[in-house]
Symmetry: none
Subunit: 403 residues, 2 copies
C-alpha cells in the first residue's frame, strides 16, 4: 500500500490521493507512525516482511523463500526438507527465457501440468523424494526430501526474460551440496521432458498462449525455526490471505489458515468475503491477520490508477470491518508489509504508514492515513518486529521482563 511520491500524481502517493474515509477514521481515532519493516532503507521481501510483522527477527530466522512458499501451498514441509520457489516459464529451444511466467498461466493448466510432474520417479542413490505443487498462476513450490541434503545450491531462474536459464551449481564443497545439485539437475531435466510434450502445452500453443515448457527454481531454503505465536503469547490466531507466501509464513508462525472463497491474491479478489471472514474469525481468535495482495500487484505493474482504486476498495472493506466489530474491546492495526513504488515497480526500503486504534491507545492528532500524515503521529518511527509486542502489550498478552 505504501509508495513514494508519484510524478503523475503531482508528487503525492496513491494512498494520499485515494478517497479513504475508513482509513482516515482509524488514523483519527488511533495512534499513528511510520515503520521500517526490516530496518531503515532495507527493502523487505513479502516473506521477510511478514516474518518481521509477526514479531520475528527476519535477519536471523529467514532461510529462503522456497520453504515458506511450499508451506503456504499446503505441502507438509518437514524441518530438513530443502524447498524451492518455482515458476512455470516459457523458454526457446536454446533455453533463453521468453516469459518467466508462461503468460501468467491459468491455475487449471498449471494444476494439470503439476499433476504430471509429480508422477516422475527420481532415480538417485540417496532415496531422496520430491513434492511439487502449483499455487496461483505460474507459481509453484518444490520440496526435496531425503537424508544429507543442503540448501547450498544455486537458482536456475535467471530473474528476467531474454537470458538463458542458469546452470544449477553447488554453493559449497560439501557432499550434501553436491548431492542436492545432482538431484535437482536430474529433476529439472525430467520436468522439461514431461512439459515439452504435454497435451496442455500443445493446447496452449494452438490457442496462441506461451507453453509452460520449463520449471525455473530459486530460493533454496528450509522452514525458519521460530516459536509459534500461540506458544509465545498464549493466543489463538488466524490468517486470511490468499498469497501462498503469506500463508506459508503464517503457518510457520502457528497461525490457523482460513480459506475464503473468492480470495485470490489478485486485484479481482473478493474484498467483502475477506472482511466477513475477518469479522467471524475475530469472534474466536485473539489475533487475526488480514492480508491483501492486490495493491502490490498494481504497483509491480506500474498501474497507478488501479492502485488508487484498490486502496479505495481496501478502505471500503475496512469500513465494513469497523462497522461489525466491537471497538471497545478490539484493537485494529493497519499497515503495509512494504513500500512498493509505482514508479520503479519494485519493493522499496522506504518506511510504511501504521495506525493502531482501540480502546486504550494514546490517540494522537493525526487526521489522515498516509505515508506523510502518519509520520507525525504518536508512535513516531518503529520497527516491523516491534509491532507484534506492541499489539500483544495492548491486549494484555505480554509477560513482564523482570520484577
Amino acid at each position: 500500500m505504501g509508495d513514494r511520491p508519484v510524478k503523475e500524481l503531482n508528487f503525492k502517493t496513491p494512498l494520499e490521493v485515494a478517497h479513504k474515509p475508513s482509513l482516515n477514521q482509524i488514523a483519527k481515532t488511533g495512534v499513528c507512525g511510520i515503520m521500517d519493516v526490516i530496518s531503515p532503507g532495507v527493502i523487505p521481501g513479502s516473506d521477510t516482511a511478514t516474518l518481521a510483522l509477526l514479531g520475528y527477527d527476519a535477519l536471523k530466522v529467514y532461510s529462503g523463500r522456497g520453504a515458506l512458499e511450499a508451506v503456504g501451498s499446503g505441502i507438509k514441509v518437514l524441518s530438513d526438507d530443502v524447498c524451492f520457489r518455482c515458476n512455470f516459464a516459457t523458454v526457446k529451444e536454446n533455453l533463453i527465457v521468453l516469459d518467466r511466467r508462461a503468460g501468467r498461466i491459468a491455475n487449471e493448466d498449471a494444476s494439470k501440468l503439476a499433476e504430471s510432474l509429480q508422477k516422475i520417479k527420481l532415480e538417485n542413490s540417496s532415496n531422496a523424494e520430491f513434492l511439487f505443487k502449483n499455487t496461483i498462476q505460474h507459481r509453484a513450490a518444490l520440496v526435496v526430501r531425503g537424508p544429507k541434503l543442503s540448501t547450498a545450491v544455486s537458482d536456475s531462474d535467471p530473474g528476467k526474460a531474454g537470458e538463458k536459464i542458469l546452470e544449477i551449481k553447488p554453493l559449497d564443497e560439501s557432499l550434501e551440496s553436491n548431492l542436492t545439485t545432482e538431484i535437482l539437475r536430474d529433476l529439472m531435466e525430467k520436468f522439461r521432458e514431461v512439459l515439452r510434450q504435454h497435451p496442455v502445452n500443445n493446447e496452449r500453443v494452438k490457442h496462441g498462449l506461451p507453453p509452460a515448457n520449463i520449471i525455473l527454481c530459486r530460493g533454496a531454503g528450509t522452514i525458519p525455526k521460530v516459536k509459534p505465536l500461540p506458544k509465545k503469547y498464549g493466543i489463538t490466531a488466524a490468517c486470511i490471505a490468499a498469497a501462498s507466501l503469506i500463508r506459508g509464513v503464517s503457518k510457520v508462525a502457528g497461525i490457523k489458515l482460513i480459506d475464503v472463497e473468492g480470495a485470490t491474491g489478485t486485484p479481482q479478489t473478493d474484498f467483502k468475503a475477506k472482511a466477513n471472514a475477518t469479522i467471524q474469525a475475530l469472534k474466536t481468535n485473539d489475533f487475526v491477520l488480514l492480508h491483501v495482495k492486490a495493491t502490490d500487484v498494481a504497483s509491480h505493474d506500474g498501474n497507478i490508477k488501479l492502485k488508487v482504486e484498490l486502496i479505495e476498495k481496501i478502505d471500503e472493506m475496512l469500513g465494513y470491518v469497523l462497522n461489525n466489530i466491537d471497538l471497545t474491546s478490539t484493537y485494529l492495526a493497519v499497515t503495509a508489509d512494504h513500500t512498493t513504488s509505482s514508479t520503479t515497480r519494485n519493493h522499496e526500503g522506504d518506511p510504511v504508514p501504521i495506525a493502531i486504534t482501540g480502546p486504550y491507545v494514546r490517540r494522537d492528532d493525526v487526521e489522515e492515513y498516509g505515508e506523510r500524515a502518519c509520520a507525525k503521529g504518536g508512535l513516531n518511527r518503529i520497527k516491523g518486529m516491534d509491532l507484534m509486542p506492541i499489539l500483544m502489550n495492548l491486549i494484555g498478552k505480554t509477560k513482564k521482563f523482570g520484577a
Copy 2:
C-alpha cells in the same frame, strides 16, 4: 508515572490531568520524547527498567530480582552468592497461601522475625551459609553463600493467594542445582518451624493480624556483572531512593546510596526531604538519581485520584529542586521507569515520556509534560539504555568512538 488513557479521566492520563507547572516548565525549556525503557511493547520490571535507565542492556545482564533486592537491603553480596527475593506470607496448615504479604506486615514485626530466622544453623555438607534481611513491610532478601551453588532452582512463591506453595526444584541436572535446592528446602523448613511458634506471630494473631508463618522465595539470581558508572564515565554518582530494588540496582552500578530520613518508598514519603537531599548531592556529584516509588504504588492499587495527587507532589518537589539548582550548569531529565496502568493495575509496555532540560539541549516546541505531548518532541522515540549515554554526552563525559 506513565499511564494509558483512563476512562474515568475522559481518556486522558493521570499525568495529563494533573496540575504540573514544574514538569511543564521542564518540557517547555527542554527537549522531549517518548522512551521504550526496554524495547517497544516489552513490559519492564522495576529492576530491568532501572538497569536500562542506567545504561545497561538489561536483556543481557539481568539475572533475577533476588540479588538486586539483596544488595538494596544492605547485604554485602559477593559475586557467586545466590540470592532470592522473599516475602513474609501467611499460609494455612495445608500450605495454601492466604496472604502473600502477611497483611503488609509492619517493619518492626518483620525485623524481629528476621532476627530470629538469621540465628538458624544450616546443616549441610558443603559449608553453605545464609544471610536473611527484611526490607520494607513484607519484603525480604535471602542470600545463600558457599561453593558449588547454582541459580537454577525454582520458586516456592506461587505468585497468588489461594494456591499451595510450590515445591522448590532443581532447574537442571547439575550437582550445583541439586545441592542448592536441598539447602533451600532445608532452610525453608527451618524458617517455617521458627515462624510458627514465634511470639511476634502469637501477638499478631491475638490482634487479629495474619501471622507471618512462612517465607516465600523467588527470583534466584546473582548480581549482574556490569561496569560501574564511575568507571564507565569517570563520574561521581549518588542515588536517592527508598525502594530496595532501586537501591540494589544503583549500588551494583557503583552509585553511592544516600539515606534520607522520611523517604519510605510509599505515598507517605517525604518529598521535600528527598528534594533537599538531591540539591545537596548535586553539589558534590556529577550525577544524581532521584527515584519516587509512590506513583507506581497508586497505579497498582488502581487509585487514580491518589496517582494524580502524587504526580502533583512530585511536581512540587521538582519545583523546589528547579529553584535551588543552577540550570546554567545542570541538566535535568524527568522520566518514568515504566508505564503502570491504573486500569489494568499492572506494569505495561507502553513508552514513557521523557524531557531533558539544561543549558545546551536542542529545545523543542513541546509545552507540556505528558505521554502524548512529549511524543511530538525533538528526542522522538528513544530506548531506555540510550538515556545515560545521551545525558553523559550533554555533560561532556562520553568519549569519542573513532577518530
